[in-house]
Every structure is written in structure tokens, then in C-alpha cells.
Subunit: 323 residues, 2 copies
Amino acid sequence: MKFLQKYQDIIEDVIERCKFTGQPVQLYEPMNYILNLGGKRLRPIITLMACDLFGGDLNKAIKPALGIEYFHNFSLMHDDIMDKAPLRRGKETVHMKYDENVALLSGDALLVKSFRMLEDLEPELFKSCFQLFSQTALEVCEGQQYDMNFERQNEVLYEEYTHMITGKTAALCACSLKMGALIAEAVKEDAEYLYEFGRYLGVAFQLMDDYLDVFGNHEVVGKKSAGDIYENKKTILYILAQQEGNEEQKKELNFWFNSTEDTVEKIQGVVKIFKDLEADRLCLELIDKYTDQAREYLDKVNVSGEKKQPFYELMNYLLVRES
Amino acid sequence: MKFLQKYQDIIEDVIERCKFTGQPVQLYEPMNYILNLGGKRLRPIITLMACDLFGGDLNKAIKPALGIEYFHNFSLMHDDIMDKAPLRRGKETVHMKYDENVALLSGDALLVKSFRMLEDLEPELFKSCFQLFSQTALEVCEGQQYDMNFERQNEVLYEEYTHMITGKTAALCACSLKMGALIAEAVKEDAEYLYEFGRYLGVAFQLMDDYLDVFGNHEVVGKKSAGDIYENKKTILYILAQQEGNEEQKKELNFWFNSTEDTVEKIQGVVKIFKDLEADRLCLELIDKYTDQAREYLDKVNVSGEKKQPFYELMNYLLVRES
């Protein structure tokens, strides 16, 4: 997206300028490695956008935005260990390229580094940004733990699922926006509205991610089709189907999600249940619901519609992807 | 030690009062578990002692001291994963009792919690304490990485070793003291002197730990005799022996430290080399050297000798253990 490019360039530039050069290299080199795997840098970008929205000094927000990107990459490094994931953005994960101990310790240090990126802020602002950021960090850990718990539960309630993704995905999105607002010294209500906008947007984004994994156009999305089904991941589609299904359908769903089979038959079987129960339609309705709520909060932010335009565009960009 | 009791009681009390009760329990319960394994609580105790030394408000230092204890336990949780250690203080390690993913994630959250324990401090002080604490956290990670690197090196230089333990052990000791001084608003020089005192004390303490592992009275120390030799850990004794040995002795030492044998013969062989090369005497000399340097810094602190008395006693307590 063109309107994001300016911010993305700033982030890529600061990542490059702040390359880790510390010793021992075994600790710092994996941080550079994961940061160079790319990604859209959406989280730090929205910090900058939020700062701009309230007429803040963009320079002041750059390092904190970088801290957000560091944090995101720390969480990927550790999540990949926990998930035993071999690949991340088509390249080896840190624990595969180096080893698990390196990924563990380098992740720890990257987490510390992420908080340190706030240090150029004056003490009052430093403290409020730190409180927001560290509270978010805990929510992300909680979300990840719930996600791991779900692997052992046959039944996951819809409310449990949205609570989990609120922590694991949406909290950092909301935090990124609010931090930009805090740095720009936005009034408290506006910072809160933007936070809520980010939270609902983050949930909608994750639900869309779940939807597209199965029903998306995979040449556009660039991921393996139905990877979540192969991995028995309990996404919103599974949960909606569990909720809507009769005993037999639930049993079949459980059968497939307890098998480690990697066959087309499995995918077709699961997709058929999803479609029979209209989990796809229900999922899109949920996305609409969360998107509407996000939009309502954005509407409330006391800034001209023109200035908010990039945020409306961002919503479209993130949520109305080709499917 | 009687003079430590008062502070230890405060720490035990705040650990109990601040028990983790958050959700999900799988994330928070392991934090309570590791904190309840006990330990002498030396690090938070010296934070309180340092605050007292400069006539600070002890109440203000309690939560930050708790944060130091949290951090220490976070590092134990993750180190135990990396070392594949089955036991910690005679009980199951967190990753054995739960699993590795739990120990990893719960450790991450405990690290975040440790920084949050500074949050009751006013912004200026919060920022300076955070900077000290987070810089220390990075040094601890660096020390741990060097320690892991040493496992793959046959030769480790004396300077490399002391640099490693300065990060892994001494930095947090120094940080604990300086944080107490900062909270008590000690003058900058005194806070720095106390930091250096802690740094040298921490190195001396670790060297003594290495010494006692082999040459200590193990009923007093309460650890398995020569555990470091069984585990092929390159302690100061190994390094001094490598430094002093002829080709044949070095070769024998390398032979033993590359074997996973768990025999009395191995212990006797290694101890004989240590003794032949007087590694034990050289080690005690080094401990004296670091202890003297620690004492010199303590002498410099601009507070009456009477007030500093507990710190001199602490040195004796930590470094003149029965052997």
C-alpha cells in the first residue's frame, strides 16, 4: 500500500541503522537474522501513523516503534521454539538455523532490548509507555499460553478463543497505536479510542487470517492452503463448527483434529463440515462485527476525517483482502 | 546470619503477599513454584541493605528488591532449560515438573514482571532504575551465552572466564546494591562505589563457588562433591590448570573434560592435576585479590564504618565459608 510506504521506509531504515553489533555474536546475530526475514512491519508502522495522526514529532516515535518490532520478533522466536516450527517466512527459524538454546537466550535479550527502545523518552512519558508496553507483553504471554492450552482441549468456547487472540494478536496492535498517541501527547480519550480501535481491528485481522487459511486465494495470500487444518489448529472455523455441529459432525471433526494425517481426504472432510455448518459465513459475519466495532472507535477519535483517512484505508487493506 | 534475618523476613513476606494469581494458571503457577523453592534471597537482601546504608525509605525498596529476585528466578528457569538440569535446590526444575514450553513462556512473563516491580517509583527514579536493571539483564544474557560458548572451546582464557562470570553472576549482584543506593538517593559516587564493590564481590563469590565444588566440605556446602567435574564445567580451576599445565597434563585434562564418564577415577584424575598444578592455591589467591578489591571500594563509600559493618560481615559470610 502506497500510503504505508513512507512509514515502512522509516522502519526499514532504523532497523538497518540499529543493527545489533554487541558481543558475543552468538547472542546478537540471531536478532539481526530474524529482523532481516522481512515482514510488513505493520505494528511499528501504525505507531508512526498514530503519532502523525495527532501531529506528534515522528522522530520521537521511531525508536519506540522499533521496540514494538523487536518485541514482535522476540515473540516469534520463542513461539517458533514452542511450536517446533521449521520455517518462518520461507526461511529457517532461529532455533533451526542456530539451536534452541540460542533462540531461547537471544529471544530473552531481544525482549529486554525492546523495552530499552523507549529510553530516549523523557521520564514521565517513558514510564507511561513502559507500563503500556509491559502490560501488553504479559497479555501476549497469556494469549500464547491459552493457545497452547487449547491444543489439549477438545472443546474451546468462542469467548475463550476471542480472549486468546485478543492477547496473542490484538493487544500488541492496540498497544502500537496507543503508544504513538501517547508520544504525540494526544488527549487521554483519543488514545483510548485508538487503543480500542486497534484491539477490535486486531481480532478481526486474526479471524480473517483464520478464514483465508482455508477459504482464501492462496496465490494471493502466499501460504500453503489449509495449513491450520494440517496442524490441527483450533481456529475460529473449528470453534464455530463445534458450536453448530450435531453429535456426529462434532465427532468427525474431533476425529480429524486428533489425527496427524496429512492427506487431501482430511482437508476435504474438514472443509465439508465447515461448509455444511456455514462456518465460513458465520466467520465473515464475525469479522464484519469486529470491523464495525473498530470503525466506531475510529469514528470517535476527535481528529478530522481527512487525517483519519489512512486508518480507514488500513482497515480496508487488512480486512478486505482478495479471497 | 542474624543480621540478614530482618531483611530476609521482609523478602519472604513480600514474595508471599505478591503471589501470582493471574490467569491462565499454567503461566503463573510455575512462577510461584520456583519462588517457593527457597534460596537465601541474597540479591534482594543486599538491595534493602544498600537502601538502609544511605538512610533511604526501606518500603520504597521492597518491590524493586522483589523484582531483582524475580529476575534471578527467571534466569534460573531459562538456564535450567538450556542446561537440561533435572533438579534445582533438590526439587524438580520447572521444565521437568511442567514442560519446556511452560518453563520458556512462564520465564518470559516473569522477566516482564521483574521490570514491572519498579513501577511504584516516581518517573525519574523509575527510569534510572530501569536503565540499570535492563542493562544488567543484557549483561546476564551475554554471560550465559559466553558460558555456553565455553562448552565448545577447549581453551578458555582466564580473562574470558572472569568476563563471563562478571556478566552471569557479578552484574546482578552489583545492580542489586546500586539499585538500593539509587532508591535511597545516595550521591552518585557512593552508588558507583557500591556497584564496584558488588561486582568484585560477585566475582569472588563465584570463584569461591568453583573452589568449594571440588575442595569444599560438602556436608556444609550441601552439594554433591565435584559436580562441576562430572558435568565437564570449565570452572576457574580448569582454566588455571590449563594455564599452568604442560602438554601432557593439558591433554589429560582435555581427555577427562571431553568424556561423559561418571566415575570416581575421573574425579580423582582431575583433582590430582588440579593439586599438582596448585590450581587450588592459585584460586584462593585470586579470591583474595577480588575480595581485596571489593573491600577497597566498600572502604571508599562515604558513610560511617559502623553503618558499613553489615557489608563487611556479608563479605566474610560469603567468602570465608568453611572448607
